[in-house]
Amino acid sequence: MGESVTKITVDLSAVRRTTWQQFAARFLVGGTITVLVGVVGKEFGPEIGGLFLAFPAIFPASATLIEKHELQKKQRAGVNGQKRSRDVAGVDAAGAAMGCAGLLAFAFTVYKMLPRHPAVEVLSVAMLIWMTVAVLVWRIHKAS
């Protein structure tokens, strides 16, 4: 029942509310984490380095941003939306938890396919599997 009424829409207003400093912060965090993952891999080997391929790099920045945007929206409407803003960011985190099924499927696909298939093919298939599994888990959750 829930699934049939849940429509996925594109909302550009959230992007417009994001300042260039916030975009820059995400770029910096993303770039820095990628460099650190490379350094960890080099220092401690691929087994430890691999753990950090699924490090929640951008998560604190995103959760803070979502909470802030929601709070600003509620304040503009003249209400104290602190609880609501935390709920919204919490729902986003729950979505990320569902997305982890896709992340796991991505890793498993790369692990199994990479030794025997060309890299571009493997990464393309793994991305497709990530998206498919993540959306499927989300849909199942919405339908239940």
Binding site: T6, V10, D11, L12, A14, V15, F23, F27, G30, G31, T32, I33, T34, V35, V37, G38, P46, E47, I48, G49, G50, L51, F52, L53, A54, P56, A57, I58, F59, P60, A61, A63, T64, Q82, K83, V88, G90, V91, D92, A93, A94, G95, A96, A97, M98, C100, G102, L103, L104, F106, A107, V110, Y111, L114, P115, A119, L123, M127, A134, W138
Partner: protein
């Protein structure tokens, strides 16, 4: 060496920002959240690792990434629970829960992926 680090930084920055932007675009928020667990860092790192160290090395990284993904699930669930149930602010919930990711990732690696 510095050129490689700079290249990593740029590729990682672009990919992580792009997936975060996708997460901003969609509604409902539970769907947008899927992009919070996108393999952005993995995509940036694996491509460079394959080119430099070879496919077998990158496959070993991907094997450990499975443990990292399970840890990410526990981490995101913990952040969601702290924010929705206990109304903890986003920065505190997401930073404090990193310990959950670390314990789970290294614990799983020790028990399973280390062999």
């Amino acid at each position: 060496m510095w050129q490689e680090l700079l290249f990593r930084f740029l590729v990682g920055g672009v990919l992580v920002s792009a997936f975060a932007l996708l997460g901003d675009l969609f509604k409902p928020k539970s769907f947008a959240g899927l992009f919070g667990a996108a393999p952005s860092v993995a995509l940036a790192t694996l491509g460079l690792t394959i080119a430099r160290e070879g496919r077998a090395y990158a496959a070993t990284e991907a094997r450990s990434m499975i443990a990292g993904a399970v840890a990410f699930f526990l981490y995101a669930s913990c952040v969601s629970w702290l924010m929705m149930r206990h109304k903890v602010n986003g920065l505190l919930a997401s930073c404090a829960s990193i310990i959950v990711w670390a314990v789970a990732a290294f614990g799983l690696w020790f028990l399973w992926a280390r062999a």
